[in-house]
Each structure stands twice: as C-alpha cells, then as structure tokens.
C-alpha cells in the first residue's frame, strides 16, 4: 500500500530530459503480449504503486492504484459480495489492474458484462511531460471532455503511465450453472448466437474440443428454470472450467511453442478452418487459432469476417503483431501519441512499429 506517484513522476521527468525511453512494467505477467521492442529502454516499475484509494460498495465504484494486483482487488470486492464483472484474465499471480487496462484484457463474460474498457470510469495518467492528469471520474455517467480514460484500453502504455483507475464493479451472481453439449464448430456458432438472442441469464458461451459450454448466472430461480428449459449435460465443476478459460489455463492454451492468434470478429462469421486447433469464445465474437501463419495472410480472413486479428502469443514478435489501420487512422494515432508523449518515451514500438 504505497502512493509512489511522486517518484514515478520524477522518473518520467528525468527520462524526458535525458532522452531515455521507458518500458512500463507492472507485475510483468504480460511480457509475452505486444511487439518485442524497446531494447535500449529502461524500466518504470509500477509494482510498488499499490493500494485501494477508495471503495464504496453501494456506489459500485472502486478506485485503486494501477500496480494493485487483480487478486488483491478481487479479495477486497469479495468481502462485499462484489466482483470485476469483466472477469480479467490472470496470466500470473502478479497481474495488475493497470496492465489489464493497458492490454484491454477481459474474460468470458465480456459480451454480456462489457470489457475492462467498458467498466473504466476514470484514470490518473502521467503523460510524457510528467504532468499528472485526471480524466473521467468516480461516477457512472460523465460526458465532460474526451474519454481519455477509455482511450488507454489497449494502448499498451504507449500514451502514458496509468497511475490510478476508477472502475464500475458489480454484485457477484447469486448462482450459476454450466450446460455442455457436443457440436461441430459451425453448429456451435449457430447455436451460441441463437441462445444469446434469448432473454435468459447467459454469461458465458464457448466452444472447445468439440463441445459447447453455456454458463447461466444470476438469480437462482432463473438459472435453474433456464437450465431445465435449454437442456444439455450439467458440468459438475462449472466455475472451475470458466476459471481455466478466463486465465488461459485450459488445455487449449497449453501449446506455448505454437503462435496463438486472436480473431475479434462478427459473432456469426464463418472463418476458414486453417490447420490446427481452434477455440471459440464470447458466443462467436472471439476465435482463437493456434498454428503457424503470417499476419498478412490472416488479415484478409479477419476482414472478411467483419473484424481484426492479432498475434496474441508466440511467433515473430519483431514484426507487427496487431492488424494495422489505414493511412488516415495511422496519421491520427501518431498525432495522438505525439500529443501525450512528444518525446516518444513510453513503451516505444510495443503496440505498432510506427507508434
């Protein structure tokens, strides 16, 4: 529990004046993500900048320092029967909320609960000039000024050092149940979309190893009634299964040698069955593919499926790992980067080679 924002600010100012670039590191659990870059850069450690700043359970709002671990946050929330509704993946014990926001990582409930980006209400941010800025706030509705807080989601630390985050939190569902049935990939896409269109307490829908898993969560009576109506086998340890999916500990992810690709596409899209294992999450909106490929070959497939592709883990990380924008948007993103970080100090090349 320490506020190190002053030390962090001094480090940023010093880096700015000496031209030293900085890699921002929280728990260091997501080093596998993004591009391999910034070899000559120093490290700005967020690991000591921790602690809950404010938490009002009945307001459904939590404010924490960015280096606080997800585990600690979840323990604090659990005392009041609340949770991070977007189910952040824990790539390791030390995973922090700051890194989760910077990488925009959300778990299986994402289509229904929203993403970490959706739950952010406000941030404090050190920009490249060492200014400690405050955007958004601690209330659910706030439309004053541009939404710089949500802009940090997925920016991978390229715009500044997130020091503090206010988030919307939600009550834990009272009950849950997981239904399983065997279906092909194409059947599964159709089935998950159909179920997602029904007004039932669905909060998870994935397909892996030839089976569809649907999670129901909410009021006990509603979960039981829907489970009876929909049918399928009841998975005994449903919570354990979803925990594995959330933390990417499921057997599907256990091929560290092969590149892991993430397709973020229309939920109903059909993707060609490239050779290698596939997994579908988010009722069809997120597709994982494990196998050798080149980003430039996958991009047209993703585009045809209404979305984008990125190299999530492994493969050649000196090349681009994220689908790139057209020139007009590249120019805007460069100018935004320059406005926050004129000296190009933060996480150089981590998101794109040109940012």
């Amino acid at each position: 529990m320490a506020d190190q924002s002053q030390q962090l600010r001094e480090q940023v100012l010093e880096a700015g004046s000496s031209g030293q670039q900085l890699n921002i590191v929280g728990g260091g659990t997501k080093a596998f993500m993004g591009r391999k870059a910034g070899a000559g850069a120093g490290t700005l450690s967020m690991a000591g900048h921790t602690g809950v700043v404010e938490y009002h359970p009945v307001e459904l709002v939590l404010t924490v320092r960015a280096g606080t671990t997800l585990r600690e946050i979840e323990l604090v929330l659990a005392e009041h029967g609340q949770c991070l509704h977007f189910e952040p993946p824990h790539p390791g014990e030390a995973a922090t909320i700051g890194g989760t926001l910077a990488c925009n990582l959300s778990g299986p409930a994402r289509p229904w609960a929203g993403s970490v980006r959706d739950q952010v209400l406000g941030i404090r941010l050190l920009n490249g000039k060492g200014e400690h800025l405050r955007f958004g706030g601690q209330v659910m509705k706030n439309v004053a000024g541009y939404d710089v807080a949500r802009l940090q989601a997925g920016a991978m630390g390229t715009l500044g050092v997130i020091t503090e985050i206010s988030l919307k939190v939600m009550p834990k569902p009272a009950a849950s149940a997981t239904l399983v049935r065997t279906l092909s990939m194409a059947e599964a896409v159709e089935y998950m979309n159909r179920r997602a269109g029904e007004p039932k307490p669905l909060t998870g829908a994935c397909w892996v190893d030839g089976k569809v898993y649907l999670r129901l969560a909410g009021a006990r009576t509603a979960v039981e009634a829907t489970a009876a109506q929909w049918g399928g086998d009841l998975l005994p340890d449903g919570d354990g299964f979803w925990r594995q999916i959330q933390d990417m500990q499921h057997g599907f992810f256990n091929h560290p040698e092969a590149p892991l690709w993430r397709f973020s596409v229309s939920s109903t899209a059909t993707l060609p069955e490239l050779e290698g294992p596939w997994m579908i999450d988010w009722a069809g909106s997120q597709r994982w593919y494990c196998g050798p490929a080149a980003l430039s070959n996958l991009e047209p497939l993703a585009r045809r499926a209404g979305g984008q592709v990125s190299l999530f883990r492994g493969g050649d990380r000196t090349a681009e790992v994220m689908q790139g924008p057209p020139e007009a948007l590249k120019a805007i993103q460069r100018r935004i980067k320059h406005s926050f970080d004129p000296g190009g100090i933060f996480n150089p090349g981590r998101l794109y080679s040109w940012l």
Partner: protein, 484 residues
C-alpha cells in the same frame, strides 16, 4: 456581417449546389431560422449556410470544401440536444444529417443494426421488435433524437446502470474526418486493435469527425419487467433505500427518484396515483426472466418496507407499469405547466452525497429566489434539477444560470461532474474549468488537433480556451479546482 463574408457565402453555396440538390443548400434567413438553436433554445445563432446532403460522398465533398476554405462545420441530427452543442457558428455551415434516415440492415442472429446517423433512437427498437430485440440506451428524447446525435453525446437514459451508455452499445462508426477522409472506427468484433478511437469519438460532441454510419448491438427483449413504486417521508431514507437495493445485489433496470415538488407536479399532470404526501418517490424497475423478476420484486418490496417506505405499490400489468412510469416520463412537461420556463441541469454525483446536495440546493433556491424541482436517475447518480424561471422577467434567466452554475460547482465538490449525459456544448463550457485543470484542458485541445488540425469541426464548443478558464476561476468560480 462584412461584405467579404457575404461573398464567401454565395461562393460556397454555389460550390455545394454543384453536387447537392439546390433545394437542400439553404442560405435565406427565413429558412435558416429553424436551425438557429437546438433543444437549449436560450442559445441561438444564425448560420451562414445549411446543407442537407444525402450521400456519404456528398458529406465528404462538403468537408473537403470547408476544410480548404477553413469554414466551421456544425453537424446536426434532430437538434434535440440540451447543451447548445448543435448551435450554429455564424460564419459556418450547418451540416444536417436529417436525410440519412435509413436503417441499412438488421442482423437478427448476430444481434446488430447498421444505421444511417439520422435514424431516430426509438425507430431502432421498433424495427428490431419483430425479432424480439431492442436497442438499450433510451434517452428521454428517444422519439425524436437520432443515433448520430447519440454517438456525439454518448447519450444515456433511464436504463444506463444495467445496460450502459451509447459507448457500451456500439460496435463501429463510419466517420468523415475534418480533412474529408472516410474512416471506420471499431469493427464487427467486440474489441479492436490499436488506440480506441471509437471510445474517444463517442461523446466528442461533433468536434472530432462527422459520423455517417453507426453499427449498434441489439439486446434480447426481457421476458418481463415490473416496477415497484415507493414513497418515503424523507430524501435521506429514499437515498438509503437505493443503496440498500444495490447492496442486496440487485441491479435494477431503472431506478428513478423524484422530490416532493416533482411528485405533485407529475401527479397533477397525469394522475398517476403518486403518494402526494411523500417527500421522495422511488420507481424501481426490475427486468429479466419471469423467475428472476418474481424473486427480485419480492426482495425489493421487503427491502423498501424495512427501510421505511411509507407506501409501496407494484405494477401487476403492463398497463399499470406504464401508468407508474407516465408520471416520471411527463415530469418535464408537468413542470412546464407550473412555470413559464424551466432550465434543466445535468450534474452527476456519488449517490452517498444526495441528501447533502439536495439540502444545499434548497438553500440556494431561497438565496436566488427561484424554485427548483428534482428528478434524478438515482441508480447512476445523475441529477436533473429543473430551475423554474420566467424568461420575460428581466434578469431572471441570468439569475437562473448563476444558480445552475452553483449547482454544477457543488456536484464537482462532492466528487461528481458537470454533465452526465447532456454534454458540454456552449452551455457548460465555462464550468469545464471547474472540473478540469489547465493541463487536462490542454491535453484535450491536443487530442482535438490530432483529428482536426485546422479546427473547423464545431469550434467554440466542448473545451474552453485556456485564457477564459483563468478568467473564470479568478472571479471565484473555480476555487474547488484541486488538481492539474
């Protein structure tokens, strides 16, 4: 207007008429008049020109011409905004998107709708209803306001706490940049690569681009919705009851509060059967499956009883639910009947400060000699104090504005913000200096410049020039400002 500007006007109109039906390039004062303000009628300006293109290519050409001549462009949907965000620039062009009113596609399986920006908010849900789907955000102007305007303002509504704001319900927007480039932000997937420009553009009040197409998510229509109405003999008790519901783990679909003057005005207006003696009224709507609603309604009634409700009534039919909501939904016209004019504020506060804020507002009401009526999105802390005034009484609107300004300052003091859903526009541009320091405002200006280096998109709105902020704070409005 100088003769130079006049020449610019005809020259521009001529250029637009080369590719837009001349009937839709407006330059005479009489036809320009309806465009001089949005829903905040106290702020008016006559634009140089109004154009109503009906293809994306025409919008693109309008932008290119205006960019070349550095002519301000104010995009406009239905003009229902409440912060003068669509007020014209006197030397600029109003770019009306009213003719972009087609629903391009509804995908009932993928649960999305592709829309032109001029499609009315309510029309989306009406069209989606045949598939058992609807669009979540429901601002109270939903019968008239357009989805393009909703994107510009990041509009909310009664159901935000559970179903989110516009930003949570968008998949992508297609936009024409200040330089006339057509770009797509977001995608058919839920998350996108790179900087999240979609989040930045949502709620940017037309300062970053002109939206020409919007793809939204649709939700399955809940099986059942029921509302519990509860009267309380004090604001504090009603506020505690709101906290009690949430602490119990129930997230209501809608949770609204009205104070005593609002209850009486609304009940006089539409005879909803409200408890007229109550000091505060809560309307708590729960939706979901039949089983879930039964369970949560029973819990809500029990909680309200324990927490001191003096009356409780639960809707037992759709007609009764509609009746209970009617009073709340007619609160504004009801107040319109008891006062010649009213001014609607839009601050948001952490709910725990509700009683304090309402109490201080009562004191201010006496000090300014103006009545105030409160309706409140209690679930998410968004206050809508209505200040009653008479525009024909000399000095009364100025006093109203000063009162409003004090309310917004109070919202910031207790940790809230100056606008929950109406936007900054022209109206609240001075109060931006209360909520933000100069460094934040400077960062906003730089974000704006990244999209619009020449500064032609809706200039003078949203973010104040820094020198005005210093003046505003120096005359005693910004002493609460603590950071930056």
């Amino acid at each position: 207007m100088s003769s130079g500007a006049r020449a610019g006007k005809s020259q521009l109109a001529e250029q637009f008429r080369e590719f837009i039906d001349p009937d839709f390039v407006i330059m005479d004062d009489e036809t320009l008049r309806p465009y001089e303000c949005d829903g905040l009628v106290m702020y008016r300006a006559l634009p140089m020109l109004v154009v109503l293109p009906d293809t994306v290519e025409q919008v693109q050409r309008v932008m290119r011409i205006c960019h070349r001549h550095k002519v301000p462009v104010v995009a406009r949907g239905a003009g229902t905004g409440l912060s003068a965000g669509a007020m014209p620039h006197k030397d600029g062009v109003v770019l009306s998107l009213a003719r972009f009113n087609r629903i391009l596609d509804i995908d009932p399986v993928g649960r999305t709708a592709r829309l032109q920006p001029g499609v009315r908010n309510l029309a989306i849900s009406e069209e989606a209803a045949q598939y058992g789907l609807y669009y979540g955000p429901d601002p109270s102007s939903q019968i008239a306001c357009t989805i393009g305007g909703n994107v510009a303002e990041n509009s909310g509504g009664v159901h935000c706490l559970k179903y989110g704001l516009t930003v949570h319900n968008l998949l992508s927007v297609e936009m024409i940049t200040a330089e006339g480039e057509q770009v797509t932000l977001g995608s058919g997937g839920l998350d996108s690569c790179g900087l999240d420009l979609l989040a930045l553009v949502t709620g940017s009040e037309g300062l970053l681009g002109v939206v020409t197409e919007v793809t939204v998510k649709l939700l399955p229509k809940p099986e059942v919705a029921q509302v519990v109405m509860a009267g309380f003999d004090s604001i504090e008790k009603a506020g505690d009851a709101v906290g009690g519901i949430i602490a119990h783990g129930i997230i209501p679909a809608g949770l609204e509060m009205m104070d005593s003057p609002a209850i009486i005005a609304a009940d006089d207006f539409c005879h909803a059967g409200y408890p007229r003696e109550a000091k505060a009224l809560l309307l708590c709507e729960v939706d979901g499956t039949k089983e879930e609603v039964d369970e949560h309604i029973a819990a809500t009634e029990a909680l309200f009883r324990t927490l001191g409700a003096t009356s409780i009534r639960t809707s037992r039919s759709e007609a009764e639910r509609a009746l209970l909501w009617l009073g709340r939904k007619s609160a504004f016209p009801a107040v319109g009947r008891i006062s010649p004019d009213y001014y609607c504020m839009d601050g948001t506060i952490p709910r725990r400060h509700l009683a304090r804020v309402l109490l201080e507002m009562e004191k201010m009401s006496e000090e300014f000699g103006l009545r105030v009526v409160n309706v409140f999105h209690a679930g998410d802390g968004n206050l809508h104090p209505l200040i009653l005034f008479d525009a024909n009484a000399p000095g009364e609107f100025e006093r109203t504005e000063a009162f409003g300004s004090r309310i917004l300052k109070l919202c910031v003091e207790v940790g809230g913000c100056i606008t929950g859903e109406h936007g900054v526009g022209v109206e609240k541009i001075r109060q931006m200096a209360v909520q933000f320091g100069d460094q934040e405002l400077q960062q906003f200006h730089e974000v704006k410049a990244a999209f619009d280096p020449v500064g032609i998109l809706n200039p003078g709105k949203g973010v104040p020039a820094l020198k005005f902020c210093q003046e505003y704070r120096s005359i005693g409005h910004g002493e609460t400002e603590a950071h930056g």
